[in-house]
């Protein structure tokens, strides 16, 4: 069991925008997989200094009216998020959270509607393309994961120069290994910033955390970040849950 020793205790925030609906799932994943303290932080908050890792959950922030994530990027909490990213804090945007990171400019590129023009919910095969990020250290490069997707606008797109940058700087974190479910450029499913502390992905690792849910492949996203944080702070390695 984890003890709540402040030197080994990592604090998580789950940002709740109006219309977020995977906030509870992210919260449960942190609690169940790594047993670290986690709090919901409303979109109106202006201070994230008390947290070591910030999760932007999936959902339909502000109804996704206008464009996915386009309104959320103006939420009061976003200044603090940009600051946290610059400070090297760990940030993971999942699905709508990824879209918000793109809209906020914390990650490059944009989202188009799925090529099928239909919402798609399914398990997808992901290939781990880099283990250098804070969230993928516990995986093996080239490993195939089974992680659910659920989105209507997950067709990642960027210009050629940006794509070249992403490749050159090892910023492509996940690619779809089998069928490309949304038509994304270069089969991209998730990317990170250059520093590797900010990761955005369309698939939902928090939905792949137990045998009952059909896959446990998402658990290591959470153990990875705990280990990364502990290494950075010189504390003991996390037990792999």
């Amino acid at each position: 069991m984890e003890t709540m020793d402040p030197r080994t205790t990592m604090k998580f925030a789950v940002i709740v925008f109006p219309g977020s609906n995977c906030d509870v799932d992210c919260y449960k994943a942190v609690e169940d997989v790594i047993g670290q303290p986690v709090e919901y932080v409303r979109h109106t908050a202006r201070d994230l200094s008390g947290y070591d890792c910030i999760l932007l959950p999936g959902g339909f922030s502000y109804g996704d009216y206008l464009r996915c994530g386009a309104i959320a990027r103006f939420a009061p909490v976003m200044d603090a998020l940009v600051k946290a990213a610059a400070e090297g804090k760990y940030i993971l945007g999942i699905c709508n959270g990824f879209q918000i990171l793109l809209e906020a400019g914390l990650l490059p590129g944009a989202m188009l509607r799925n090529r099928s023009l239909k919402f798609r919910c399914d398990f997808a095969a992901l290939r781990v393309e880099t283990t250098r990020t804070a969230f993928t250290g516990d995986y093996r490069k080239g490993e195939i994961l089974s992680i659910p997707i659920a989105h209507g606008e997950g067709n990642y797109y960027c210009d050629e120069a940006t794509l070249a940058d992403l490749r050159a700087n090892d910023q492509i974190v996940f690619r779809y290994a089998g069928e490309n479910p949304n038509g994304s450029l270069d089969r991209i499913a998730g990317i990170c910033n250059r520093a590797g502390n900010v990761v955005g992905m369309m698939p939902h690792p928090e939905r792949a955390t137990s045998r009952l849910l059909g896959s446990e492949d998402g658990r290591r996203m959470f153990t990875s970040v705990l280990n990364a944080w502990r290494v950075k702070h010189g504390t003991a390695a996390a037990s792999n849950a």
């Binding site: 799932d25 109804g63 659920a150 928090e206 849910l213």
Partner: protein, 762 residues
């Protein structure tokens, strides 16, 4: 200015009487006279509008009340039965499950996206207005054949509407059914079900108690959308229905999400006296029902009602079905606390009236009394009709149809392929992949197996849930069809490891004015009632949708059963797919020559005739009890109900959905496993494979224990026979020693998965 205009537009009470304007609202002459007597005067335009919606079939059940009385509605687990927003059933540990199904057929026929979307929105509000947290959505859909462009459009848009709403609110759509048949061509069926979890001490009632208490309006402003939606739902569809498009409401799932979170927080605070959603007949129905349940009156100041458009009249405000609105009552000292909660969620919340002691619904508009009606007259005094009923000619004719007389089909593999490719049998992946069925991360079994399974966090328990109905069986024999609908739902729940708890029903029928349609309704209700009594699953709520008729006539009578079961321990969760090489395949139940209403009869012989399969509820009960016991004892590795398409389809589905899960190193999807089946029979092989005899289940089990398991079932009076072994990559079926089917599972899977995408994209 607006008022003046309206005054000239709205006919006065005398003119309404003289020109019989009330008839436009579906009010009969006799009903109008009764209204005058109850009021002691002639109603004005607002009042006749209010009466007409409250006295519509949709709100009053005036034609179906005598039918609904047949249902068993009580039981040791029932905490809330019919009459509230949704029924509630105890599941132990102070927890309960709250669920209900509701139709949005007529709106979906003219505006499929919004019609379906707002159907989902409405049923979600029914659940959270009881205080329950919605945890799952299901649906039951019927369309005409996919060969028609109009039907493709309806199908595509209905599915998109359900997805668009449920996905955004963040409640997983975990299950459902879709069937296609000519009878639904002009009148699709869209039934939506919501399941919620609640603690016993949080159960709310829609009651306006406490004279003087303030009444609050919550949600977006009222517009002119959906005016007379309830009346629209209570008449037949026709060419003129297109003009009723303005009667279809427009949904805003984002607002629903906020209203839901705010209302659940309000309820959790413990200060709510009464709360109800504004569904059919909007402000009219919610205010009068809440007042009626408490034996009180209510006064509303319509000038305070948030309005989206200028110049709205009392008539328009009272009859609007604008979405995502709620009405609640608190004590005066809690007003500020309530307001603060809605402010936090950014949801409009306005005090619009108060509870009164005079038993009247009084509406004030611009300083004048716009309506003043005894609440009882609206809610309780609507006449109840016992419609004439007559056995249809086709029913008598079908008695002499011999469904074994068709020429024998000898290409059994070809027949299997055809039936697998029928949209009724084919995989519905094209549909459910558009639904987020995993959000909330409690979905242990999603769409595509016998029943969906949703776990309950913090416990070992889970809920199994399903919707079932077969319009063809009900058309051929509504009483037997009604029984089968309940029995099949129960079988699906048990196959998934659950104990059936209770049902909610959606009675989709033709016009009750037609004696043949009314007979179908009566008989189906008899069948449902009998099956519910025998299987111990009371009816805790539901919905009636009559007048499902279009230019081509009435739909097949289609009662849809929504059932929820309790899985005691997540270890009991069982799915339909075969699991491992070498496992024994065991068939429970007995196969008879029963092709009436079957998918095979329709696909191969092009007809729906004869009598549907018979059902013996005692044998069904014995099967269900024994199977559940076997599952709980850990003897069963997979279980699949034998239904549409018969044994051949059930076996194919066990193979297609069986085997390994996940992905291969190249990213390709794993799955599928073969089976070798040996059947001996005195039936004709095509009848054996495609008969839809009831009370049958295909299970698989460890082969070392197969003999013991077969004996165990037989000892409990359940016919059981080992019919084969799981393994390989082919489904091979031999009948009396001769090969009947020898097909690659991958190929069958391709046909089964590809059928609907092919029809939609081709």
């Amino acid at each position: 200015m607006a008022r003046l205009q309206q005054a000239t537009l709205e006919p006065a009470a005398d003119r309404i009487a003289e020109e019989k304007i009330y008839r436009q609202f579906g009010v009969t002459d006799d009903e109008y006279d009764l209204i005058c007597r109850l009021l002691g005067r002639r109603p004005n335009y607002t009042e006749i509008g209010v009466f007409s919606v409250m006295w519509s079939e949709h709100c009053s059940y005036k034609n179906s009340k005598p039918i609904l009385k047949k249902f068993p509605t009580t039981g040791p687990r029932v905490l809330v039965g019919p009459g509230e927003g949704a029924g509630i059933v105890d599941i132990g540990d102070n927890q309960a499950v709250c669920f209900k199904i509701e139709s949005h057929n007529h709106p979906s026929a003219v505006e499929p996206y919004q019609g379906a979307a707002t159907g989902v929105g409405g049923i979600i509000r029914d659940i959270f207005s009881m205080g329950a947290r919605p945890v799952a959505l299901l649906n039951s859909l019927r369309f005409g054949p996919l060969s028609s462009e109009r039907v493709k459009y309806l199908f595509e848009q209905v599915v998109a509407g359900i997805a668009g709403y449920g996905n955004c609110v963040g409640i997983p759509t975990v299950g459902g059914e879709v069937m296609f048949d000519e009878s639904y061509e002009g009148n699709p069926l869209v039934n939506a079900m919501c399941v919620g979890l609640i603690d016993h001490d949080r159960i709310q009632r829609g009651r306006a108690d406490g004279v003087g208490n303030p009444v609050f309006y919550v949600g977006p402003p009222t517009g002119r959308d959906g005016i007379h939606g309830a009346t629209f739902a209570s008449e037949e569809l026709s060419e003129a229905s297109e003009a009723k498009r303005p009667s279809v409401q427009v949904g805003d799932p984002f607002m629903e999400k906020l209203v839901m979170e705010a209302c659940l927080e309000l309820i959790a605070s413990g200060i709510v006296v009464g709360i109800q959603d504004m569904g059919a007949a909007g402000l009219t129905c919610s205010s009068s029902e809440m007042a009626s349940k408490a034996g009180n009156g209510m006064e509303l100041n319509l000038d305070l009602v948030p309005q989206r458009e200028t110049g709205m009249t009392p008539y328009e405000m009272m009859l609007s079905e604008s979405q995502e609105r709620m009405l609640f009552v608190v004590r005066p000292e809690h007003e500020e606390q309530a307001r603060a909660i809605f402010e936090k969620w950014g949801v409009p919340c306005v005090k619009v009236g108060k509870v009164t002691d005079d038993g009247r619904l009084r509406l004030i508009h611009k300083g004048e009394v716009a309506a003043d009606i005894p609440v009882r007259a609206l809610v309780d005094e609507c006449p109840v009709y016992r419609k004439p009923s007559r056995v249809p000619d086709y029913y008598a004719r079908n008695a002499s149809v011999d469904t074994t007389r068709y020429p024998e089909v000898t290409d059994l593999e070809g027949a299997l392929e055809k039936v697998l490719a029928s949209p009724n049998v084919a995989s519905k992946e094209w549909v459910y992949r558009q639904y987020d069925y995993m959000v909330r991360t409690e979905t242990a079994v999603g769409p595509g197996s016998d029943a969906a399974v949703v776990t309950i966090r913090g416990t070992r328990k889970a809920l199994a849930m399903t919707t079932d109905g077969n319009g063809r069986y009900c058309y051929l024999d509504p009483e037997v069809g009604g029984m089968i609908a309940v029995a099949e739902a129960a079988r699906n729940v048990v196959c998934s490891g659950g104990e059936p708890l209770a049902i909610t029903d959606n009675l989709n029928f033709g016009s009750p004015e037609k004696p043949e349609s009314f007979w179908q309704l009566e008989k189906a209700a008899d069948g449902i009632a009998e099956a519910c009594r025998r299987l111990g699953t009371p009816v805790i709520g539901g919905n009636v949708s009559l007048y499902n008729e279009s230019a081509i006539g009435a739909i097949h009578p289609t009662p849809v059963i929504g059932m929820v079961g309790l899985i005691r321990d997540v270890d009991h969760i069982t799915t339909q797919g075969f699991k491992a090489e070498g496992d024994a395949v065991i068939l429970l139940g007995e196969t008879k020559a029963e092709l009436g209403g079957s998918e095979f009869q329709k696909v191969i012989h092009g007809v729906t005739e004869g009598r549907p399969p018979a059902i013996d509820l005692d044998r069904e009960k014995a099967l269900l009890d024994a199977l559940l016991e076997a599952i709980r004892a850990g003897l069963v590795k997979s279980a699949h109900d034998v239904s549409d398409g018969g044994l051949a389809v059930a076996l194919a589905e066990c193979c297609i959905t069986g085997g390994e899960t996940g992905f291969a190193p190249d990213g390709s999807r794993l799955g599928g496993i073969g089976a070798s089946i040996d059947l001996s029979t005195s039936l004709r092989p095509d009848i054996l494979l495609f008969s839809e005899s009831q009370s049958r289940v295909v299970i698989s089990a460890d082969s070392h224990r197969a003999g013991e398991i077969v004996e165990w079932f037989r000892a409990k009076g359940v016919p059981a026979e080992r019919i084969g072994t799981v393994g390989g990559s082919k489904l091979s079926v031999r009948i009396n020693g001769s090969p009947a089917v020898d097909a690659d599972v991958a190929r069958l899977s391709g046909i089964w998965r590809g059928a609907i995408p092919c029809l939609m994209n081709g």
